[in-house]
């Protein structure tokens, strides 16, 4: 039946033999490693193609050893009952910034393998993801992983799963994703416990949910779908029910995990669609794809709109890269619907974009991907949250860029976004962690005992305070044992001031930030000190000042260069010397000019890193 012989998957696996599930867990509990074992057990990947955490295909994922994107893959599992099942697995990221990825993947599944590291136990994202799976009506299979470790505490962790999550371990499995122990048993559980997909009885109009998309250099816009009803095939004319876009399908296929063309995708299946749609922005994640003619079916539920919570300006280092940056941001946002961007400009940095992210790791990852995958050199500004600024007369404006803060005299008050943070830690660290929370202007609202050794603190804190380095501090005071999850929790009025940095008397807008008054001075001092380290000496002294309005609250000075001269310069040296000087000139050109001062790119990064 296949046209090219390469089509290994039949076009319509019987519903009763399809199992769609995702693997969810706290960061590093072994999801991608477990996926590896499943790929091997199902012979989905040739031995010579195998590598650890195979699904983590982006360079950045491999380098950092973390999953950033959800990765779907289709496998054929030969079960002990003699039947072959089609498993559509989605490996998900564990980091809190990417929980949106997890929730979208869940829309394509009926089951979830909830993994818990036997040496770490239930952590913050374990709890968050378990709730998310329950909300999505997924069948949860609890799995304790890393049982090969000498420090594995299987019994204790089983207890936590039952007590904290209320999930019966009788339905679960004990595995080692490293050694492969228990994997067969888990696969059988998936066959037995994950319900097959449901569909409308035929004939019915085709419906497929768009749960992700990527921009592929060869295929263009590739849309990831979960077919709910009917079939989609190459040549079909389809309509996106949300946007109304009509297009013709050019290719459908499965993830192996590479794109593998197939004749059709049938009900319950997970795969991809390439169509005549060229423009990344014509695709909306969460949209429903249906036939272009015939009755218009009901739209599938789709996804909650998520709003980026952290904003930062991204600028090309070289102004000629503006268009390239814009196109790259477009392609990136296709693959990452949680990311937004709009044009803005800065006195110091020129034309760029205000970009919205879910958190700081998300921001870092996008920046890295721009640099590597899209090869644009960028500078980004200090991250900021969205403030509600109440003006006299009752008007309220949203400010996501500190430089756009209205004049202080017109401001009645400012509100900042708050979060509810759930911190799981060992009993002996409670004191230190409470101090840390208070230092970040937070308060501990509730303390729940999880088991004899651990508690969960529920805290209310300003989002701004956890942006940059809170997690590092949390890990360091708890020796790596505390973990945090958070949700947004409205706005609260706060005594915020705008902190400006002046170089040689000129305000560098890219360095401005809104900050609580009590912290302005120490932050100002840190920023001045950090800048002093990275800005090179000039032929004149360069004062660096931190100011609130007209009041200078911190100051450093970069002393004027006193001596910069080559002693010996003869005939033979002239060309060499000139080339050396030209290289210096090139280096200088890459710096940003703020008035007469040249500011190296590192300055923008080091200021970011100089947090408390």
């Amino acid at each position: 039946m296949s046209a090219d012989g390469a089509t290994v998957f039949s076009m319509a696996t019987e519903l009763s033999r399809i199992r769609n599930y995702c693997i969810i867990a706290h960061i590093d509990h072994g999801k991608s490693t477990l996926a590896d074992r499943m790929l091997q057990m199902t012979h989905s990947v040739e031995d010579r193609d195998f590598r650890d955490q195979l699904l983590d295909s982006m360079d950045l994922e491999r380098e950092r050893g973390i999953t950033i994107k959800s990765h779907p893959v289709t496998m054929q599992y030969q079960a002990l009952d003699g039947m072959v099942y089609e498993f559509n697995l989605i490996d998900t990221p564990g980091h809190v910034d990417f929980s949106y990825e997890v929730s979208r993947s869940m829309a394509a599944c009926e089951g979830a393998v909830l993994l818990v590291d036997a040496s770490q136990g239930v952590e913050a994202q374990t709890v968050a993801n378990a709730y998310l799976a329950a909300e999505n009506n997924l069948e949860i299979i609890p799995v304790i992983n890393k049982i090969d470790l000498p420090v594995a505490k299987v019994e204790e962790v089983s207890h936590q799963i039952e007590e904290v999550l209320g999930i019966d371990m009788g339905q679960g499995a004990l595995v080692s994703a490293r050694t492969g122990a228990g994997i067969r048993e888990l696969m059988e559980r998936i066959v037995r416990q994950v319900p097959p997909p449901k569909t409308e009885p035929a004939p019915c109009p085709a419906r497929a949910l768009v749960f992700d998309s990527v921009y592929d250099a060869f295929r263009g816009v590739v849309v990831y779908v979960r077919v709910v009803d009917g079939h989609v095939r190459a040549g079909d004319r389809v309509r996106m029910l949300g946007t109304g876009t009509v297009a013709e399908i050019k290719e459908v296929g499965f993830f192996t995990p590479k794109f593998k063309p197939a004749q059709a995708l049938g009900p319950g299946q997970v795969g991809y669609i390439v169509s005549t749609i060229k423009e990344p922005r014509e695709v909306r994640i969460g949209d429903t794809i249906s036939g272009a003619s015939g009755p218009v079916p009901q739209q599938l539920p789709g996804f909650k709109n998520i709003h980026p919570m952290v904003f930062s300006g991204i600028y090309p280092v070289d102004t000629v890269d503006y268009e390239k940056l814009k196109a790259s941001l477009g392609k990136l946002s296709l693959n990452d619907s949680a990311f937004s961007f709009t044009p803005e400009s800065s006195v110091a940095l020129g034309f760029g974009f205000r970009c919205g992210f879910l958190g700081l790791l998300h921001l870092e990852i996008i920046q890295e991907r721009l640099r590597r995958e899209y090869d644009v050199d960028i500078i980004s500004t200090y991250p900021a949250v969205v403030y509600h600024v109440a003006l006299e007369g009752g008007e309220i404006v949203n400010v996501d860029n500190p430089t756009h803060l209205p004049d202080q005299s017109r401001i009645e008050f400012i509100e900042e976004p708050m979060i509810k943070a759930f911190i799981i830690c060992m009993n002996e660290n409670i004191g230190d962690i409470m101090r840390l929370v208070m230092d970040r202007r937070g308060e501990v609202e509730k303390t729940d005992t999880l088991d004899v050794r651990r508690v969960m603190l529920t805290c209310r804190m300003p989002l701004n305070e956890i942006l940059v380095d809170f997690n590092d501090y949390l890990k360091s005071v708890s020796h790596g044992y505390a973990s945090m999850d958070y949700e947004h929790s409205g706005y609260a009025q706060s005594d915020l001031v705008k902190l400006d940095i002046l170089l040689n008397g000129e305000c560098v807008d890219a360095f401005s930030c809104l900050i609580h008054r009590s912290k302005a001075e120490s932050r100002g001092r840190q920023m001045c000190a950090a800048l002093k380290e990275v800005i090179p000496a000039h032929m004149f002294a360069v004062p660096i000042q931190a100011a609130i309005g007209k009041t200078v609250i911190a100051r450093e000075t970069i002393k004027a260069l006193r001596k910069d001269v080559t002693a010996k310069c003869y005939g033979g040296d002239i060309t060499r010397k000139r080339k050396l000087l030209e290289r210096q000139k090139e280096g200088k050109k890459r710096m940003k000019q703020v008035g007469k001062v040249s500011v190296p790119q590192e300055a923008f990064i080091s200021v970011l890193k100089s947090g408390s």
């Binding site: 032929m539 004149f540 910069d564 001269v565 010996k568 033979g572 000087l581 030209e582 210096q584």
Partner: protein, 381 residues
Amino acid sequence: MNSSTSLRPGAPPEPAGIYVHVPFCDGKCVYCAFYSVMLDPALADRWLAALELEMRRCALPEPVETGTIYVGGGTPTILGSKRIERLCSGLRRRFPLRRNGEWSVEANPGTLTRETLETLAAAGVNRLSLGAQSFDDRVLLRLGRRHTAADIFRAFDLAREAGFRNIGLDLIACVPGVGPRTWQRTLDSAVALRPEHVSVYALTFEEGSRLCARSPGARLRAKPDREQLNDLRRAEKALSQAGFRRYEISNYARPGFECRHNTACWRGEDYLGFGPAAASCSGLLRWANAPDLASYLAALEGGGDPPREFDELTPRIRAAERLIFGLRMLEGVQLEAVGGFERKLEPLREQRLVEIKDGRWRMSRRGLDLADAIAVELLGD
């Protein structure tokens, strides 16, 4: 590309300065990044023959007069009087020195003999550049020099006796661990010898030198800028009190004894270099022989040109170079010679780094300390 195409076609045979690089030494000083190998008599003979071949391959008519010759290295004086005699007569045949021309040879106090000096004088060499570096034996040792202060006095007197009326001394300033007293004594000794010319170089940590090769954190680290400037000011004071005039950032001379060969290079005039690692400049074209004796010998012995790296300047870069290196001289650069650079010079003038005096752009005192930073400002469009 060979050297016959490297001079502007149709241009009159301009009297370019001639430079010869002698690539031999009897050891390596810690600060030196110039190309040299240990002296080997057989190699030295082959080098001499190859040098003659290279000079003959030059496109200029043979013979052609020149105003200045400079023989540097390496250590020319370790060649011994036989080879020096041959080198000089070869040069004289190919590039006879004009009347009142300047012919300099670099000499090391440790290897300078009466015989060598007499050979040089007889050959027509009329200027000696003596690598004294310091008059403190401990400092000399630290710098990896293979001579003592006594050697300098001896060599200097021998040179005078041999008839040299134009002798320059090189000194190294800003050596880490050398305090103001020791440095002042070196300056006093230099002045006491009554040379015609003194060069004062702040010690640099050149890539390729042994100073740089030493592991980071080794005991020699550059003096702080403030101390370096103090050393250099001290030198300027001592030398001007003794009647020397500073005419370039690192060079001092009694009036009329400025090194003409170097001055011509700084003014952007042409020069032709011979020997491995030697550089040449002809109009917009630059080239340098590869710093490698073996390939130099092989190429010339095989009837070809030595391996070279060429560099063609745009008129704008050439102009920038002239300005940058011209400003290193205290005479500065004529106003009309800097067409197109006023826009860059003006802000520097506001910062009092450059100034206009007697119809010329010059560096201010502070500007001279910041010549490289100023050069970076002047480069580019």
